[in-house]
């Protein structure tokens, strides 16, 4: 009998293979360029959802401000792309050539200091990871060390999302204001607006997402993953077993923040702009809904949930734009009331058992005990 699960058990490997096949083979084969790019955009939200599974599903920390981290990544990438698009050559009609056009419109004559590092691509990539990690660390330290949790934490993160939006819109000269950062062209000289670039970026995005899922699977399978569950259930018991609960909460919040930022950066690359409409309260809550629909305890469910809700959103909002938000709210209520474990719960309760039974029927007479043991050792996901 094996007691130690290696970080990928057979079921996880199968699930990873299925989702990889779907995203890397089936979608590219079936969808045209426009739709594929759309799926790519949805998948950038899945980064956030995967982070939320760890942070909220496992750790019990509900953040309603993940849009902030998505934006930190997205804006970081957009700043790099914008600087590249704003060469002196391209902007010679401006009164100050060589700075982004919206700065020129706002009578700014010099590139602000915090834009300077974004001239360099390696530095940009580094900052896309470090800046959200730093912000999450500061927010997390301020709150978790003071034992702020549950609803209070959710409300504060929501307020932070609102503040971030107001800040971005208000500081038009530095951020591009309500329009965001637009007219992005090349990544290190490579034109990202062409169909072939979009096709390649889709695959980069999927591979990055699958790596993030792999990392999340590793965290989940480590003792840290079990401590997250333990913390969610009996915070005091964990504390009085010698763990600093706040440090674990800060860690998982930072990790979710970095995941979200990677999604944001990929969003900018694939969609070609970044704007405050992806930062605030509504997108942040939408991301929580994607996670809930997928099943907040399921890393793979996060991907399916994000895709399902966004497909529904696109098709419904094309025909009934006003009704969509009502539909989204209704969906969230339905999930919470009827399927608290989301799509993953439906799968585990109704689809997986018949499959397991079908697979186990044949070797039944030789290994009844083994099957029983497997059933009792496999934890409910």
């Amino acid at each position: 009998m094996k007691t130690a699960p290696s970080f990928l058990n057979r079921r996880d490997m199968l699930a990873l293979a299925v989702v990889a096949a779907l995203l890397l083979i089936v979608f590219p084969a079936l969808l045209d360029g426009f739709r594929l790019n759309l799926v790519g955009k949805y998948l950038t939200y899945a980064f956030v959802a995967v982070g939320l599974v760890l942070c909220w599903g496992y750790g019990g920390i509900l953040s309603l401000g993940q849009g902030v981290f998505f934006a930190l990544g997205g804006y970081g990438m957009a700043m790099y792309l914008k600087l590249e698009a704003s060469s002196v050559e391209n902007t010679k009609i401006q009164s100050t050539p060589g700075i982004p056009d919206f700065m020129d419109w706002n009578q700014i004559t010099e590139l602000p200091y915090f834009w300077q590092p974004f001239h360099s691509l390696p530095l940009t990539i580094l900052l896309i990871i470090l800046v959200p990690a730093f912000f999450a660390f500061v927010i997390g330290s301020a709150m978790f060390k003071r034992r702020v949790s549950g609803v209070y934490f959710a409300i504060i993160t929501q307020a932070i999302a609102a503040i971030a939006t107001i800040l971005i819109i208000g500081q038009q000269g530095y951020t591009g204001g309500v329009n965001g950062i637009t007219d992005l062209r090349t990544l290190h000289g490579w034109d990202i607006r062409t169909d072939s670039a979009k096709f390649i970026l889709y695959f980069v995005n999927v591979v990055l997402l699958l790596s993030v899922v792999g990392l999340a699977l590793f965290v989940r399978a480590s003792k840290l993953g079990r401590i997250l569950v333990a913390m969610r259930e009996k915070e005091d018991r964990v504390r009085f077993s010698g763990y600093s609960v706040a440090n674990f909460q800060i860690f998982v919040f930072c990790l979710a923040g970095v995941f979200a930022a990677l999604g944001g950066a990929m969003f900018t690359l694939q969609v070609g702009f970044m704007s405050p409409s992806l930062v605030g309260i509504v997108p942040s809550i939408e991301m929580v809904i994607f996670t809930a629909v997928g099943g907040r305890m399921s890393l793979f469910g996060a991907i399916y949930g994000t895709l399902a809700v966004n497909f529904a959103k696109t098709s419904l909002s094309e025909s009934f734009p006003e009704l969509w938000l009502l539909g989204l709210g209704g969906l969230f209520i339905a999930v919470v009331l009827a399927f608290p474990n989301g799509l993953a719960g439906i799968w585990n309760d109704y689809v997986q058992p018949p499959i397991d039974r079908a697979l186990k029927l044949r070797p039944k007479h030789q290994g009844d005990d083994v099957a029983k043991q497997a059933a009792s050792t496999a934890p409910a996901e």
Partner: protein, 252 residues
């Protein structure tokens, strides 16, 4: 009558002039007592006497308003909860405090004293030493055949044992137990007494308990609390015959 002059250094736990007030109400009032190495001390007293609060103060769950708690000479009142645990104090809660969604194995493993930092937990390896120790403890707490079941499916008594097992694996020098046999059936009580007798070896134990039979069985010394103060202290025989104790506690 309760303080014994200046305490010599070799007490394991020295609680002195400990006071905590909740909005003016002094749940523990100028309390002093000393626990020796390998001593089993039972705290008894009527409801609201401040027994659980004393344990809360020692393990850092509640911060003291005044006074000091020294454990091996280190001041506990200034430490965080996890630091107190690391210095060697373990606490069992009154209601079984275990992780329902994890298996018995995982419950015990989390209390294994290794990999308690974030990085340590990420890189923690479930090696043979861990497995052996978990199995050993699970046998002591009568749960060996349930190692891979979810803790949610255990009975109340078994959950209490599991939490005792979690403390055992943590291996504290001072073990604090809050009503370990409350809510147990007679047969479970007997097994628990047996269990406690094996785990209290080579460590000091501070127990809160109402079951007088059980107290007589295990206590070296008894402290009776009443309204946040010590009413009487000494051997079970002495305490039992103390007229003040009979009046406020044993009389009912």
């Amino acid at each position: 009558m309760t303080t014994i002059g200046t305490p010599p250094k070799d007490y394991l736990l020295a609680v002195e002039a400990l006071t905590v007030s909740f909005d003016g109400f002094k749940a523990v009032n100028d309390l002093s007592f000393y626990v020796d190495e390998n001593e089993i001390r039972v705290i008894i007293g009527p409801n609201g006497a401040g027994k659980t609060t004393v344990l809360d103060l020692i393990c850092g769950k509640t911060k003291a308003t005044a006074g000091s708690i020294r454990f091996r000479g280190a001041e506990l009142t200034k430490m965080s909860e996890s630091q107190i645990v690391l210095s060697g104090v373990g606490r069992k809660f009154q209601t079984p405090s275990i992780y329902d969604d994890l298996t018995i194995f995982e419950n015990l493993e989390i209390s294994y004293p290794k990999g308690r930092s974030v990085w340590g937990a990420l890189t923690f390896k479930r090696d043979q030493a861990v497995r052996d120790r978990v199995e050993e403890v699970s046998e002591i707490i009568f749960l060996k055949d349930k190692l891979h079941e979810r803790a949610a499916f255990l009975s109340h008594g078994q959950k209490q044992w599991l939490e005792i097992g979690m403390l055992l694996i943590q291996d504290p020098e001072l073990l604090m137990l809050d009503e370990p046999v409350a809510g147990m059936s007679v047969s479970e009580r007997i097994k628990t007494a047996e269990l406690l007798n094996t785990i209290i070896k080579n460590r000091s134990v501070l127990v809160i308990e109402h079951d007088m039979k059980f107290v007589e069985d295990i206590a070296h010394k008894v402290t009776v609390l009443h309204q946040g103060k010590i009413l009487s202290e000494g051997s079970m025989q002495k305490v039992k015959t103390d007229p003040k104790v009979v009046e406020v506690y044993l009389g009912h």
